[in-house]
């Protein structure tokens, strides 16, 4: 597969939204991949199991996560996860987006 031309390819945008929790507050973090970091962001995104169906979470007041990857107006990936599912590659992606947005 050929890599997109970095000068003309649409910029990758990753949005992480956390809702729920005891407080019921929604917080959102957004990272926009600059050309230099684009390969790293694509690697992080592609390492996540976007098609896997998370098992239903037990309990109450847990955080809920929505993770969306966009290029221009097109949505490339979207996942809704419970707090316990945000581990492994999901956790790495979420942490890097939050860090980039800080």
């Amino acid at each position: 597969m050929t890599q997109p031309d970095q000068d003309t390819a649409p910029r990758l945008i990753i949005v992480v939204a956390r809702s729920g929790g005891l407080a019921g507050l929604t917080r959102e973090w957004r990272a926009e991949a600059d050309p230099e970091r684009e390969p790293r962001w694509r690697e992080l995104v592609e390492s996540c199991p976007w098609d896997a169906t998370p098992p239903p979470a037990r309990g109450a007041d847990r955080f809920h996560w929505r993770i969306e990857v966009r290029a221009d107006a097109a949505t490339l990936h979207e996942a809704r996860l419970g707090d316990t599912q945000v581990s492994g590659p999901w956790r790495t992606l979420v942490d890097e987006v939050r860090s980039a947005a800080a």
Binding site: G20, G21, L22, A23, G24, L25, G59, A60
Partner: protein, 352 residues
């Protein structure tokens, strides 16, 4: 008697069904009920009080609290740091959780004669110092879990008795049969935790309905946050209005119901509507809110007939039935319940 994973009342219901489709389940439930249970020593304590000048001594059940410390990792249960009857540790979160669970246990016993989360004296399990700057407290299906907060918005979730009681009440709701954590049934699940959360605090402080703040989570915001609490049961939508957090989004009437996919369909948002209904009942009846309004809500939850997918209207009908069973169809309690649900737009008030 040790508690199994399936609550005894549910086993009783399954065992007694005559639905031929459930014949196998009914037989299994009867077999389970017939099994001898391993004995568990019941914890009791002596309580002294004065009633009309006479000293009264009574043996009442006692909680069995176990507090663990996650040591800022997101791993459960963590290291056990304080068990029942052990002295204070000096760690504020550990001791606040221990005391808060005790106060909540006392509330459920004094108000409804309920012996803990499972109603059978099971251990009350909690973990504190969960995660790093973790901005949440939750019930994971087995234990109550408390983060320390990030210090900028939240300063620790064990500081508020209503928060501790809110989490314990999620366990009670689950043990009573549960309410699916989505949409209106999820908002009812949340509302019950808010209601029992504020009632536990009012019981602890000896406050009547007109003396209480009706706030959930007072004291857990950092000083810089413009807000008094997470939620207001009496006046939904007024708990905070802050540059960072935005404005408290809770509605107090069906006309303002929020449709959203976030937060399991807005379970922490639309809970404002049944919260307000409870406050209206408690205000109309006056006195200690747990004595009549609280009892009606508790009977509704534990009747064994509430559907796990109940919506606001079904819950309103169930509270009316519970009030009628407890106080009579023509009672002021039934009238107060009917007026309250009309007041929040869930039902029409036929009596009006």
């Amino acid at each position: 008697m040790a508690a199994g994973i399936v609550p005894p009342f549910l086993l009783d219901r399954i065992a007694s069904t005559d639905d031929p489709r459930l014949a196998r389940a009914a037989a299994a439930a009867r077999k389970t009920l017939a099994m001898p249970r391993p004995p568990r020593p019941a914890r009791t304590r002596l309580r002294l009080s004065i009633d009309e000048g006479a000293l009264v001594a009574e043996a009442v059940p006692a909680p069995d609290r176990i507090i663990s410390d996650a040591q800022n990792a997101e791993l459960l249960p963590g290291r056990r740091v304080r068990s029942e009857d052990e002295p204070a540790t000096g760690d504020a979160a550990v001791d606040e959780a221990y005391d808060g669970l005790g106060a909540t246990y006392d509330f459920f016993w004094d108000a409804f004669a309920r012996d803990g989360i499972d109603g059978a004296g099971g251990s009350l399990l909690a973990t504190v110092h969960f995660g790093d700057d973790y901005d949440n407290a939750f019930w994971n299906g087995e234990r109550m879990v408390f983060g320390d907060g990030d210090g900028e918005v939240f300063v620790g979730f064990t500081r508020s008795l209503s928060v501790i009681a809110h989490e314990l009440a999620h366990g009670v709701t689950e043990a009573a049969g549960g309410l699916e954590y989505q949409g209106q049934s999820g908002a009812l699940n949340e509302s019950l935790s808010d209601v029992f959360g504020v009632l536990a605090e009012q019981h602890h402080l000896g406050q009547r309905a007109d003396e209480a703040t009706w706030l959930v989570g007072a004291g857990i915001f950092a000083d810089a946050v413009e807000g008094v609490a997470l939620r207001s049961v009496s006046d939904p939508g007024t708990a905070y209005d802050d540059d960072v957090l935005g404005r408290d989004p809770q509605p107090g009437h069906m006309r303002d119901y929020v449709n959203t996919q976030d937060d399991n369909g807005g379970v922490h948002i639309n809970s404002g509507i049944p919260n307000r209904a409870f406050f209206l009942v408690a205000s109309a009846l006056g006195g200690f809110a747990w004595e009549r309004a609280g009892l009606i809500w508790y009977r509704t939850l534990t009747s064994g007939t509430l559907s796990v997918t109940a919506d606001f209207s079904a819950f309103a009908t169930a509270t009316r039935a519970a009030a009628a069973a407890e106080y009579g169809e023509e009672s002021e309690e039934v009238a107060a319940v009917r007026a309250a649900w009309a007041g929040v737009g869930v039902e029409e008030d036929d009596a009006a």
